[in-house]
Amino acid sequence: MIKIKIDGKALEVKPKTSIIEVADKVGIDIPRFCYHKKLSVAANCRMCLVEVKNFAKPLPACATQVMEGMEISTKSKFTKDTQKSVMEFLLINHPLDCPICDQGGECDLQDTAVAYGASKTRYTEEKRVVFDKNIGPLISTDLTRCIQCTRCVRFLKEVGGMAELGLIGRGEHAEISAYVDKSVESELSGNIIDLCPVGALTSKPFRYSARSWELSRRSTIACHDSLGSNIEAHVKDNIVKRVIPKENESINECWISDRDRFSYEGLNHKDRINLPLKREKNQWKEIDWEEAYELIEKNITDIDIKKSNKIGIICSPQSTLEEGFLLKKIAKELNTSHIDYRLLEKSFSENNNWLGCKIDEIESHDAILVVGSNLKHDQPLLAHRFRRYANKRNNFSIITSYDDFYSTRCLEKVIVNPSAYINYLLMILKQVQLSTKYKINSEVIKNLLKAAKPSNEAKRIAKSLLSNKSKAIFLGHQILHLDDGDNIKLVAMHIAQAVGATFGLIPGYANSVGLNELNLNTDNISADKILSQSKEAYIMMNFDPLYDYHSPKKINSALKKAKFNLAISPYISDSFKEFDVVLPMTPFTETSGTFINMEKTIQSFSAVTPPVGQSRPGWKILRVLANFLQLEGFSYDSSEEVKTDAMIEMDKKNEFSLNDFKPSNIERGLEVLNVVRANDSDMIVRRATSLHQNKNKDQSCCLINPTTMLEEGLIEGQKIKISSSEAEILINVKADDNVCLNAVVIYGKQDETFILGMHNKVKIKKA
């Protein structure tokens, strides 16, 4: 600790801290534009210059580290005069258009000018004009207002993962630009709107729709991935006008992903339903709630539930804890254990399906191995923590089939077919076993290990896991979408045990962990099984049966066979044709509820706006439904009461035991990799229009490694026919050497591709 004085106040501070960090900690205000605690220090705006005793020149508080005996004056005349002159320089070329600027009322420059600037300008020359650039559908530019602080440039390079913006030109003509008129593509790009201290970068979808002082700010939890980012919805006239991050250092820091920021555009999409719908002569007819419940009651009570499992229930992994609990309770009352939330999985082991550590502990490991995750799309913001880790500590390895982590420094980057994951992990396990003498009882694994011949990469990965103190192995949730996912998980867990590593699985959706903790599927019956055994009725909640379930063909034929199908959904579309009744539920912004995120943090939230039309929160729909069905124990008055019971239910959860290795015969040949892009993950984001305006050519094609293309005689841009057991489509092919050999990447959950189903074998043919 070293002793310093700031504004006469004696302090003991850690060495290597900057003056501005000290000031922020003790609540002394130093104005700044370029400095941001999460970005590298640029020291270019000069607004934070302060007087330091024995220095003739003022020093930038952001870039100057405290030294023993330093005396800093942030309020002296010298400091004030310096700051005033910098303010004057910043304003000479800044337009006086605050009344029409979207940043007005929440502008750092405006606020600082009032506090530190002069009231009159001495500058009478012409002001600079900068032409605006189109950097995509999310961010609007008014570059004449830019003060060249480069926060946006540094963010995209350091957090976004790719240098997409730069300061081109020099001197007075330096301006922010992308390469030509290229759109910014980072999944985190919206954060530069928050970072911009002036109105140079503003939200395009929000533009001109409200002034900042007209908005009520309400906190909630983002629902598009399992991170559980804390967000603030800004509401005017009961409509969410924009979403910004709410700082939570241990979860989302001060950032959010673009889908969490802009998905609100999907909330009031034309597909939203305001009243219950009944299917009549292939047409939807609006009916009132009373009629809808009576219809459901009639159809359900027709079923002889004395025999078990006559009804199948499938819900989204985005369902709240309360919804899940009520569904589970209804299932029990209806004598069915055929209830599941796993829409994409083909492997169903239920143990350890969470991160295995706290989110902010990830980077404290000395070595990390990630297997089979499309981090950028699955968990756009979590990916940033891995990127930061990888760039700082050269001890990050990844084994994947499609490398979307390209801008990151990796110790080892292994790109292999999904079917080769298991061999790779066996090689690592064998190598690890050599030095740990870790015992494995399973005869099957023992035999497989005998045959394994560790490659050099596997040896190096093993070495990094062995030679470091604390380490972690994380699997992507795609692993569970594979037929041999449970085997992969098992071997990975053996490796983790052998080397003493944290083991984690990065769950896919907002409440995957919550529903798992709730033990929703007590008998571990999979959605797959529920659909293949014909049911008399199905209840499906909060997902698109064709886009979000991996086999449209299977789900459609199951629905066709059933006598009665009920959907509970905020939206209606062609996907719901096989349903008899659709009840309008509210999306996450119009309901209270609870999500449990990847690190098992329980986060409850309230509605930020009232329900649209006559739609109702999911938990209320289920409660009334139960009442109509005359089921016992559903007299809840609030979601909090439901939560209380749900928590008790969670306490009863048994630990699942490890299954043994089940040898599976994996067919070789062309493998399919379904990558769900960040903006296609669920019903809400798919309807958020701005997020999709940017859809470039790459997204409506499939990706194949150039070497494989050569072998298959394919050329870039060619149309090919892809057929699965479900359907066939025509699609353009694009060469991408980030894809493993002998595989094709098909973006899932898209209009052009959903019909193929996901994670199926495919064949390709030149069209």
């Binding site: 240098a163 997409e164 730069g166 081109i168 030109g169 630009s177 992308a178 390469y179 030509v180």
Partner: protein, 157 residues
């Protein structure tokens, strides 16, 4: 695609730097490409960036920062005249006037036949030879007089 010759030249420059620091060769790469092409286009800048495994925008920053790079089509002969203090004191203005009149163009313009373009330049570090100019960046002419300028231009085809 960059031509074989261009790539060979860039590879030669790359030998000057550690293998994981290819970006160091960007100024040289852009110079090589410009010398071949006369000026730089967005696409050429992107090709250079790709060749050196660096972000396109970072190459763009470099191309727009150093002012011997031309981002607009230049004449076959780009004439850069220094007008900084030492040249100005030795009547660089007369040289500029003479060139403007002779070529009938202003600074940052190209003659109709695309043969010449004219640029104002900052100090070239050869003030003992003032007034001076360069042609196509790499050839310097010192102690200029209007007569000498005429002679130099005449010798260019």
């Amino acid at each position: 695609m960059l031509t074989e010759i261009t790539r060979k030249k860039i590879d030669g420059e790359l030998k000057k730097f550690p293998i994981d620091q290819k970006q160091s060769a960007i100024i040289a790469a852009l110079q090589i490409i410009q010398t071949e092409n006369g000026f730089l286009t967005d696409d050429l800048i992107a090709l250079a960036a790709d060749y050196l495994d660096m972000p396109k925008i970072a190459a763009m920053e470099v191309a727009t920062f150093y002012n011997m790079f031309e981002l607009k089509s230049a004449g076959k002969y780009k004439i850069s005249v220094c007008t900084n203090i030492s040249c100005a004191l030795r009547e660089a203005d007369d040289i500029v006037c003479h060139l403007r009149k002779k070529l009938n163009i202003n600074f940052n313009e190209v003659t109709k036949d695309s043969k010449f373009s004219l640029k104002e330049s900052e100090c070239m570090g050869a003030c003992g030879g003032a007034p001076l100019m360069t042609i196509n960046n790499h050839k310097m002419y010192e102690h200029l007089t209007p007569q000498k300028v005429d002679q130099i231009l005449e010798e260019l085809d």
